[in-house]
């Protein structure tokens, strides 16, 4: 189609010169770009309210169904470095993979932060001319830190206004509840677009009508750009329904196609862009189902993808997570057609890109009312605490340890979200870090009874959400993290037959026995009985108290899950090993 014909014009990225040491690397090396075309799209996704720089270690295990393993969206570590040709120990390798993370963290420092991001955005706006640049945000922006939770998203909206976001869509945004979402949109300078959120309450005015504008048309560099919003299609199943009661979500490829056609045929746009929270692999399916989209600026699955992928003429990019990157996409479009493009995933290295003083002041002001609580040192960690990975990560294990210790349950469930933080070995753990891991609007830890049979079925159900061979049946998260449990899993197995050797408290599961289960961040309590109401407490308080009691936490990186059909965490395409 229209874009496929010009692919040769330069889909390759210009990675940061890797042979230079940190001392020689300058912001110029990071900014380097073969600018082209008549306008630039800048893109961020899934910053999860990280307005300050942070450490973020990418996964060391990213397993999926065999047909997907080793393809963009399911690449990590060595396989990732090989696929994209990364130099070992380079800045790109530090940002994009887990390899040698602790040593490189010392060398390159923290990532992201709005003050550093702003310096880069200003650079591009100056180079291209402000009137030729559009800044797009694929969502998961308002939630993920203590300052976001305590201001019910407002601090982050202020950060977006400061950065100059033009258009956004959402997912975790919705967990502040419908009314608050609409209030925050009022405060937001950007437009909020979503073509796939529809009223489903027959007693409301919005019944079967769009809740948000489906798209917006902007002019940049003489080109008319149509930008369609695609919110997270599974918000009402992945997060509690009560936040979005009366709103229905879904992929809705039919209406997406209608809006693409409307933009092309009625509005005669030069370029059709979708800002999407579908996830990287689902968007590859969307590009197969819907025709005429030039660019999908994806989000949700947190993949740092140094190169775009092209499916049936649609170019798909995704810009990692936690504010680690800004994607820069220069486009040449006129007469209703895209003639060429150039893309680079730009790492926001906070020690190399200077901070904008105005941004530093804004962050300080936003944090000031909460500094006392958020900066409290709770303890130290012996080993690096991290989030991500398909089955197990150390910070999740710490949360499960805290829950098992306080709730005296047989097992604990912690959700497989992909947002969080990384605390380096030997560093202090701050209360801020605990909120970075579990700062949500439904933080209650529930303790209740489940039958062995139910637990086994639930695990199979969750495994099928993560490992289904068809991305349209996945929800883009990782496996729930289990405390007090070990199991083996054959990822390629049939639905309902993946899990074996399931042990609770060191003994094989008894399907007829009743177990005491604690969980947070999900809906499992709805499936249980005998909810212990007196034990309900926010997970961040449970975790805080446990770390304080421990003083120094010592969580080993030895996982609780045995992978039967792959011999490593980052397999290459078509293989079960690395």
């Amino acid at each position: 189609m229209h874009i496929a014909a010009v692919l040769g014009l330069g889909a390759a990225t210009s990675g940061v010169a890797s042979t230079k040491t940190i001392n020689k690397l300058s912001a110029k090396d990071i900014y380097k770009f073969n600018s082209m075309g008549n306008f630039t799209l800048l893109h961020m996704c899934d910053i999860h309210a990280h307005i300050k720089p942070l450490y973020w270690r990418e996964p060391s295990t990213l397993i999926s169904a065999p047909n997907l393993v080793g393809t963009p969206g399911f690449l990590c570590g060595e396989a990732f470095a090989k696929h994209y040709g990364l130099e070992p120990s380079s800045l790109d390798a530090y940002f994009d993979t887990y390899m040698d993370f602790e040593a490189l963290a010392k060398k390159f420092g923290k990532m992201g932060g709005i003050a550093h991001m702003k310096t880069y955005l200003n650079h591009v706006r100056k180079e291209r001319g402000e009137e030729n640049v559009l800044f797009l945000d694929s969502g998961d922006t308002w939630q993920g830190t203590g300052v976001a939770l305590k201001t019910r998203g407002e601090a982050i909206v202020k950060a977006q206004n400061y950065l100059g976001v033009d258009i956004m869509t959402g997912h975790w945004e919705f967990t502040y509840g419908k009314e608050r979402v609409l209030e925050l949109i009022e405060m937001l300078d950007a437009k909020f677009v979503a073509q796939n959120v529809i009223g489903n309450d027959p007693f409301e005015d919005e019944y079967e009508e769009l809740i948000f504008e489906p798209y917006t048309i902007q002019e940049r560099g003489g080109a008319k750009i149509g930008v369609i919003g695609q919110a997270f299609p599974f918000t009402s199943t992945a997060n509690p329904k009560e936040f979005t009661e009366g709103w229905s979500f879904g992929i809705r490829p039919e209406t997406l196609q209608d809006y693409v056609n409307e933009l092309r045929n009625e509005h005669k746009v030069d370029c059709v862009v979708v800002i999407s929270h579908d996830g990287f692999s689902v968007d590859q399916e969307v590009a197969r189902m819907v025709h005429g989209i030039d660019f999908i600026l994806s989000g949700h699955t947190h993949d740092p993808s140094p190169q775009p992928i092209v499916i049936d003429g649609t170019v798909i990019v995704i810009a990692g997570s936690h504010g680690k990157y800004v994607g820069r996409l220069d486009i040449d479009a006129s007469n209703g057609k895209v003639h060429g493009y150039e893309y680079k995933l730009v790492p926001m290295a906070s020690n190399i890109i200077p901070a904008d003083p105005e941004g530093v002041k804004l962050v300080n002001d936003l944090y000031a009312p909460f500094d006392k609580e958020l900066n409290e040192v709770l303890g130290k960690t012996k080993h690096t605490l991290y989030k991500r990975d398909t089955f197990f990560s150390t910070f999740d294990q710490l949360i499960n340890d805290a829950i098992l210790d306080e709730m005296k349950c047989d097992m604990a469930f912690t959700p497989g979200y992909r947002w969080g933080t990384t605390v380096l070995a030997g560093d202090d753990i701050l209360m801020d870090n605990v909120y970075e891991m579990c700062g949500i609007t439904y933080p209650s830890v529930y303790t209740f009874d489940l039958k062995g049979k139910q637990i086994a079925n639930l695990l199979e159900d969750i495994a099928d959400n993560v490992f289904n061979a068809n991305p349209l049946y996945q929800q883009g998260g990782d496996m729930s993290r289990l405390g007090g449990v070990t199991y083996s899993i054959a990822v390629a197995g049939k639905a309902g037959e993946r899990i074996s050797k399931l042990m609770i408290g060191g003994k094989p599961i008894d399907l007829d026995k009743t177990y005491v289960v604690s969980s947070w961040g999900g809906n499992l309590q709805n499936a249980g009985e005998n909810l212990q109401e007196d034990k309900i407490r926010p997970v961040y308080d449970v975790t805080r108290d446990y770390i304080k009691r421990q003083g120094v936490v010592d969580v080993s990186n030895e996982g609780n899950v045995t992978l039967v059909d792959f011999d490593c965490g980052c397999p290459v395409k078509g293989s079960t090993s690395c």
Binding site: P214, S236, E254, D461, N465, Q475, A495
Partner: protein, 154 residues
């Protein structure tokens, strides 16, 4: 703005199906007939004929249900709907429900369009089918898997 346009489009669809098809909900039938497996239901409808998979039957149902108690299903069949060539009936089946046969919709050429939209209840993850009877006695079918999940990963 766009919201209004969207609503207008819906209005058009509603007008097309203004000639009400004859509908019988399986739930209205006596209980003994309700406990019907998928295979029994299909052969009861087709009289033993094997329905042909067909792209003419457009079954629209979500891959992942937002709420298993009310899963929206739309069936649209390509057909001229003339007296010599029309869709006689649309049946919606849920393979693993206690009663597989969710709904039978009887149509005539006067309906103008072979389209039907409803909500069904799904007891769990399973396949949903639209089984279509044509005026020439042929049966067509389209099937899709629908996941009903407790959810909870974000």
């Amino acid at each position: 703005m766009q919201r209004r346009d969207f609503f207008k489009k819906l209005g058009v669809v509603a007008a097309v199906s203004a000639v009400a098809p004859v509908i019988s909900f399986a739930g209205d039938k006596p209980k003994s007939k309700n406990a019907m497996s998928y295979a029994t239901a299909v052969s009861a409808i087709t009289g033993g004929k094997t329905p042909k998979k067909s792209a003419k039957v457009k079954l629209k149902v979500p891959e992942i249900a937002e709420n298993g108690a009310v899963v929206p299903v739309t069936v649209n069949v390509e057909s001229p709907m003339t007296s010599s060539d029309y869709v006689k009936a649309i049946h919606i089946l849920a393979a693993k429900n206690f009663n597989s046969r969710c709904i039978d919709v009887n149509l005539t050429p006067a309906n103008g369009k072979a389209m039907f939209s409803t909500r069904i209840k799904l007891g769990g993850t399973q396949e949903v089918s639209a089984l279509v009877e044509l005026s020439n006695g042929d049966f067509l079918i389209a099937t899709q898997s629908v996941k009903v999940t407790i959810g909870g990963c974000g």
